[in-house]
């Protein structure tokens, strides 16, 4: 025990020395009006305004228009630069996982098969260094969702500059997340099985378990019960439309089964997550008005015979057909969420219009989350959650964020990483001077 205490102390000291807990201090509420002038404003809804003026007060956009728009308060001239609505990372593990390989830092996957009552909200670490690293790339909002298992839990939508999870949340318990069973199952290669995919004998059994749960949840919520059942209670919002059901499904068969089953159960709002083969069932998705959150475009095609650029062009195939599309990278490492703008940029190479690609990670994402009244585009009355970039924010070379605001609060763009950069460049620069 003594040894334990000492080693803990030692650990604390080590960590203290490297300043590991440091985090940028959240900005205070917007006190004076701010006017951004001279910007190319990318509205988020497909439109662009050159040489635009944008005014926001108390965290709300009050005016946006051409150079003649009256300014107010502090003026930030960003001539030649670009202003964008804050990007939105869907289905992320931000704040739930700090270091993938360190189990102690992993809070994204609870045990249990059907656990909608498990909520990401309260585990969200507002001081995460990974969360902080999103902001210099323009990602200002995130849906933080539980992962793994069958019905994984309930997500909330957070803004990324906060003291704690209560500060951070912009929409509490917005959606239940589940992984639809796959009709093909991967062999457990590490146990000597063929690593290939073969038909999943339990496909129907798993779906039946979900249907049975939901039928019971529905009748449970039809009347007041003396005995509380948390999982059933957590499903209530799915039937009255106050919560969405995000279903991870990739195959065309799985997508059709998932949507048909959910609709039959009376679940109001269904979003398909993944949707690798959604392009094969476009009329079906349109008929049921289903939005798709495709997997990050920086992915390998699902099979050897597939087009090499299949993941690159999937959002375009769906958007061209009139389906509401956004992008998530639930399956990738958490830190990769900062590459969200480039996932959208990739689709431009496939022929999508740049402003439409921008919508994928702004207004479309907000619509899917049901926060588009407040976020997702630069429109009067919406939250001043936006940023300024030196150049095209969807391209790596030019995504250089100079100013960022969440709810009108100008936030720090420094991170653990920029501090290390400056510290070591400082070391080298000063030693060079000494040499000179």
């Amino acid at each position: 025990m003594k040894y334990f205490k000492n080693s803990l102390l030692a650990l604390a000291l080590t960590l203290g020395c490297s300043n590991i807990w440091a985090q940028q201090t959240p900005a205070g509420a917007q006190e004076t009006a701010i006017s951004i002038t001279g910007a190319t404003a990318h509205i988020g809804n497909g439109n662009v305004l050159d040489n635009a003026t944008l005014v926001f007060k108390s965290g709300i956009i009050t005016a946006i228009g051409d150079a003649n728009t009256p300014t107010e308060g502090q003026i930030i001239n960003v001539n030649g630069k670009h202003v964008y609505p804050g990007f939105i990372a869907n289905c992320s593990s931000l704040g739930l996982v700090e270091i993938d390989a360190v189990r102690a830092t992993d809070d994204q996957d609870e045990i249990g098969d059907i656990i909608p009552h498990v909520r990401s909200l309260i585990a969200y670490n507002a001081e995460s260094k990974v969360v902080e690293s999103m902001r210099p790339n323009g990602i200002l909002l995130a849906q933080v969702s539980p992962k793994g298992g069958f019905v994984s839990g309930t997500s909330s939508v957070m803004q990324l500059d906060a003291w704690n999870w209560e500060d951070a949340v912009v929409k509490t318990d917005d959606a239940v997340h589940m992984n639809w069973p796959s009709s093909f199952r991967r062999g457990r290669w590490w146990m000597g099985e063929d690593p290939g995919l073969k038909p999943n004998a339990n496909y129907k059994r798993d779906i039946d378990a979900f249907v049975s749960f939901m039928e019971n949840a529905k009748v449970y919520n039809d009347a007041l019960s003396n005995e509380k059942n948390a999982p059933f209670q957590a499903a209530k919002g799915l039937f009255d439309g106050s919560k969405k059901l995000f279903i991870g499904a990739n195959g065309d068969k799985e997508i059709i089964d998932a949507v048909t089953t959910a609709k039959k159960l009376g679940i109001q709002e269904v979003v398909v997550v993944g949707g690798a083969e959604a392009y094969k069932v476009i009329p079906f998705l349109k008929k049921h008005n289903i939005a798709v959150l495709v997997e990050a475009t920086h992915n390998l095609p699902g099979s050897d015979d597939a087009d090499y650029d299949q993941p690159y062009k999937l959002p375009k195939l769906l958007a061209d057909a009139g389906i509401l599309v956004s992008i998530q990278n639930a399956d990738a490492a958490n830190f990769q969420n900062r590459n969200l703008p480039f996932y959208a940029g990739q689709v431009v190479g496939q022929g999508m219009d740049k402003e439409e690609a921008l919508s994928l990670i702004t207004l479309n994402a907000a619509k899917i989350l049901g926060i588009d009244q407040e976020f997702g585009s630069l429109e009067v009355g919406k939250s001043a959650t936006l940023f300024v970039s030196e150049g095209d924010a969807l391209d790596m070379r030019t995504n250089l964020v100079s100013h960022a605001f969440i709810q009108g609060r100008q936030l720090s763009l420094e991170t653990h990483q920029t501090e290390l950069w400056k510290r070591y460049m400082g070391k080298y620069n000063s030693s060079e001077k000494t040499v000179e």
Binding site: Y308, D309, L394, R397, Q417, Y424, M425
Partner: protein, 981 residues
């Protein structure tokens, strides 16, 4: 002449037939039967090429005494007339586990076992040349019968377990005698494979390349030991050396492994006969070049059940083609002049051997060559002059068939082994099929018998009314039960079959009284069997490689002039606008304005960007294995041994503008394996991918992976960074001493691992070291300095920015991720500014992928150094071209656009570092391996061919062929820390 033969035959009789003459007998009196057996009037294949019509085969005491058209039949001969029948030498299977039980797996349990369990044997438990199949052999009568039904008379059985598997035994399938007769040899061949023993748990080898290295070292050690150099005794080596001159058979499996096994054999003068898989036809040239005999299995894949279009989607073109093309494997090898033998090994049900053999013939396998592959060739390999033919003196192992054994409707009646007859089907069966008029008392019925000769069916009518009847035909007797119209009341009937005369028998009537009946044939049976379709089945052409996006013909180099491009030279010349680049004979020959094309093809590159091909310093695609983690040092393994030229990652990387990469060993151990530096020549063989001019590299690793921090293993040294240093010092010190001994011309034991480490000390091989935190980076530089060499590259090197000054001073390069971090504890301080900071301090920096997905977007990863750290675009582009070329010491050949360099070029439709850019053409040494337009047509071709194959599979299913459930084969995408064991 005949007398001579007779004398020869008798000699054999006295040596074999009386071999157990010395056994006492207590259950009766001793007798001898030395009668002759003569089989007459048969078509006799005395060998695959010598056929005697209406010949006689004379046997005595298990041997052929005489064979010919006019054999004089001695007194005391039992004569059997085989008119219309054919006699073949029976088949020999070189690769069998007959009578030897499959070793049960002893794997499992906690933790890894790094040390051997045996004493007095080789240091690795999977090397077991001292094992003898005969010690475990127990004759299995049922398995023997199954093998005989398929035409086999002799099999070479062995224990199918381990890397060196010990000696096999040659067994005659003689069910009527004892092991004294049937064991023809108890040391018939030595067997080897790349697979670990199922009953041993020693970690090493944990990979294909590890198994290869182990075999190389073992053969080398055996040689050294054989010269009397060892002070200790090693029973494994002694067993191997004692059998050195016997047949050596290698269980290789797929086409690549055939070449792998052959290379090892060549290096140690062991001419392996190699068991292949069903895919040898895909790599015909390489397999022909092995110049060895291939044992060919006939386990053709079943058609996929693809009626459900959704499920059909899961099956790849590669797997569909395998179903379509595999039956042509034996014929393709045979036609290419590759010597083959055939085996029943690999068949789930051995009783399918004959039908698959016949299928092979339908797909073009020559019958004579097939017979050679089953008889004379295996006999020669076994060095058995008395097997595989039916000339005087031969063991009397033969088949009596109804006709051509390679045709569907022929039957094997008898399989004679060592002169004893095993009857499979009654060759004298009376064909009772035909139409009869049947009479008893005042009744008159009509009887039609049809169907199979052994199991015929009857149809009985009375005044054109059908009667229900059931016919049983057994051992020459026919039995029938007959029901009357109302369904009750039964007649029973029995009669001895008769060939020509009317059938006469007894009928038991409804009331139990008996009467006699007669059935007189009115007309003979006419087979309604459809004549088999004789046209050869449709086989899809093989592509290079034989997977989706493979090319029908290997692409060739073209002289090309790129006109009017923005040229990113990656040289001091910088970025040149409106410039032409001329490619001739695979080299860049001119760069300038308004160049003349001559005979070169002109590509208008106006508005486009031309760059050097991207070089990925750190990749694990196109590999069969990545980690040999069975020991903490594995310098003896080579990634060049395990290149997979068919991996789709190659094609996808070409589509991302990548042309060259270093395939590194993983990071499972501090001293990993040797690298393969390759060019992405899609469609070439594994050996052709290798970048010939590149120097040798080896992977080292530091930190969490080598300490095994992230998986539960606590027994392998080192478990801390402290231990890692000591391990390096120990190995380098030993290598130094080894090298000194070698150079002093003293006698020494060749040690492949020490050889490789000595190369590092001598500056002949370069280290690319997986590394994360500053302490360990600093440590390895200090260890290297202590041994007077330089670390060449730190790869990953995510804290390189903290020691960039020290790195520059040491002269080591850094090859890093653009922006990865937070995936494990040691990358907590990884920052995307790393590349820019290292560069600013004078370190040569490259951006790498370690990932099949990122590799195909390295242009974008380079662009991130502009964002993070403000690198100029020109410098950023060097991070994926000339800088990695410098780190790999291949910058004199590739990495930039300069006159004289390899024409490894990429044409982009946009600024090459823009997220919007696409590679339109990717060229290696003047050969266009990726072209956006060709890619489009390939997509359509894949769809079309798949649809054709699906229709064929559905037709196959309808015709009653067995099917398998659809599946998608999956290759594991490797990263540094992927462990496969």
């Amino acid at each position: 002449m005949k007398l001579k033969m007779l004398v020869f035959g008798l000699c054999l009789v006295s040596s074999i037939g009386f071999s157990q003459d010395y056994f006492p007998k207590n259950d009766g009196v001793k007798v001898a039967n030395n009668h002759y057996t003569a089989l007459t009037n048969a078509t006799i294949y005395t060998s695959p090429t010598e056929i005697i019509e209406k010949g006689t085969l004379l046997l005595k005491n298990g041997r052929v005494v005489a064979v010919g058209k006019n054999v004089q039949i001695p007194l005391q001969t039992v004569v059997t007339d085989l008119s219309g029948k054919t006699i073949y030498p029976s088949f020999i299977d070189l690769f069998s586990d007959f009578g030897v039980s499959k070793p049960a797996s002893a794997r499992g349990g906690r933790g890894s076992q790094y040390e051997p369990t045996r004493e007095g044997f080789y240091w690795n438990d999977h090397i077991m040349p001292e094992n003898n199949a005969i010690d475990q052999f127990s004759f299995n009568a049922k398995a023997a019968k199954d093998l005989m039904s398929q035409g086999f008379g002799v099999v070479n059985t062995h224990i199918q377990d381990g890397v060196a598997r010990g000696s096999g035994a040659l067994i005659a399938l003689n069910a009527l005698e004892t092991d004294a007769q049937r064991v023809l040899s108890s040391r018939s061949a030595q067997y080897f494979s790349f697979n670990k023993s199922a009953v041993k748990s020693q970690s090493y080898p944990g990979s294909l390349m590890g198994a290869m290295a182990l075999l190389r070292q073992f053969f080398s050690d055996a040689n050294w030991y054989g010269k009397g150099n060892s002070n200790t005794r090693d029973r494994s080596i002694e067993a191997f050396n004692a059998q050195k001159n016997s047949l050596a058979i290698f269980d290789a499996g797929d086409k690549g492994n055939i070449v792998r096994a052959d290379k090892i054999g060549d290096a140690y003068q062991i001419p392996f006969v190699i068991l292949g898989g069903g895919d040898s036809y895909e790599d015909l040239d390489a397999i022909k070049a092995t110049n060895t005999t291939i044992i060919v299995p006939l386990n053709f894949p079943k058609a996929y059940d693809v009626e459900d279009p959704y499920k059909a989607n899961y099956v790849s073109l590669e797997d569909m083609r395998a179903w379509n093309q595999a039956p042509s494997n034996p014929s393709t090898l045979q036609k290419a002049g590759i010597p083959i033998t055939l085996t029943a090994h690999g068949l789930k049900d051995g009783k399918n051997f004959l039908s698959h053999l016949r299928k092979s013939v339908k797909y073009g396998l020559d019958k004579t060559k097939a017979l050679e592959a089953l008889t004379t060739r295996p006999a020669q390999l076994l060095n058995r002059k008395d097997l595989g033919h039916l000339k005087p003196g031969a063991m009397a192992n033969f088949l009596v068939t109804s006709g051509d054994i390679f045709e569907e409707d022929s039957d094997i009646f008898e399989n004679w082994v060592q002169g004893t007859n095993n009857i499979l089907k009654d060759k004298n069966i009376v064909d009772i099929r035909g139409n009869y008029s049947m009479n008893f008392e005042d009744q008159s019925w009509t009887l039609n018998i049809s169907g199979d000769i052994e199991k015929p069916a009857a149809k009985l009518t009375q005044d054109s009314t059908n009667l229900k009847s059931k016919l049983t035909y057994k051992e020459g007797w026919m039995y029938m039960t007959i029901t009357n119209e109302t369904g009750d009341g039964k007649f029973r009937l029995s009669a001895l079959a008769s060939k020509d005369a009317p059938i006469e028998g007894t009928i038991v009537k409804e009331d139990g009284t008996e009467a006699l009946f007669t059935a007189t044939k009115t007309s003979p049976f006419e087979s309604k069997k459809e004549t088999a379709v004789t046209s050869a089945p449709l086989v899809m052409p093989v592509t290079f490689p034989n997977v989706g996006y493979g090319y029908k013909n290997k692409p060739t180099a073209e002289n090309t002039l790129f006109k009017n491009a923005t040229v990113w030279t990656s040289e001091d010349a910088g970025i040149l606008d409106n410039t032409d680049v001329l490619v001739r004979n695979g080299k860049i020959v001119k760069i300038g304005k308004d160049l003349t094309a001559g005979n070169a093809k002109i590509i208008d590159a106006t508005g486009k960007h031309l760059t050097a091909g991207i070089i990925d310093e750190h990749s694990h695609i196109a590999l069969k294995a990545v980690n040999e983690g069975g020991q903490n040092s594995t310098a003896e393994v080579k990634m060049e041994d395990v290149i997979d030229p068919e991996h789709m990652g190659i094609y996808r990387d070409l589509a991302g503008g990548v042309t060259t990469m270093q395939l590194l060993h993983g990071s499972a151990n501090p001293i990993g394996g040797r690298s393969a530096i390759i060019k992405l020549r899609w469609g070439a063989t594994a050996d052709e991918l290798i970048f010939k001019e590149a120097p040798g590299f080896i992977k080292f690793a530091l930190g969490e992976n080598v300490k095994q921090s992230n998986w539960s293993s606590y027994s392998r040294f080192p478990q801390t960074r402290m231990g890692v240093e000591q391990m390096f010092i120990n190995y380098f010190q030993r290598a130094k001493e080894y090298d000194a001994k070698k150079k002093s011309k003293q006698s020494y034991r060749y040690d492949e691992e020490m050889e490789v480490l000595a190369e590092i000390l001598n500056g002949e091989r370069f280290i690319s070291c997986h590394s994360y935190v500053q302490s360990e980076i600093n440590m390895l530089m200090k260890v290297a300095e202590q041994f007077n060499f330089k670390v060449n590259t730190f790869t990953h090197i995510l804290e390189g920015y903290k020691v960039a000054d020290k790195m520059a001073e040491h002269g080591v390069g850094g090859s890093t991720f653009s922006d990865w971090w937070a995936y494990k504890y040691e990358v907590n301080d990884a920052i995307p500014y790393n590349a820019a900071i290292m560069q600013s301090q004078g370190v040569t920096v490259a951006i790498n992928s370690d990932d099949a997905e990122m590799s195909r977007r390295l242009n974008q990863e380079a662009a991130k150094t502009v964002k993070y750290g403000g690198m100029s675009e020109e410098e950023a582009w060097k991070m994926v071209t000339i800088n990695p070329a410098k780190l790999l010491h291949i910058d004199h050949k590739v990495g930039s656009i300069a006159v004289g360099k390899d024409a490894d070029l990429v044409l982009w439709n946009n600024h090459p570092m823009s997220v919007y850019a696409k590679a339109e053409k990717t060229m290696i040494e003047g050969v266009t391996y990726f072209d956006l337009e060709i890619d489009k047509s390939q997509r359509i071709a894949i769809q079309k061919e798949k649809n054709t194959l699906i229709q064929m599979m559905i037709a196959d299913k309808k015709s009653g062929a067995p099917t398998q459930a659809p599946k998608r084969s999956m290759k594991v995408e490797f990263h540094c820390d992927t462990m496969l064991d």
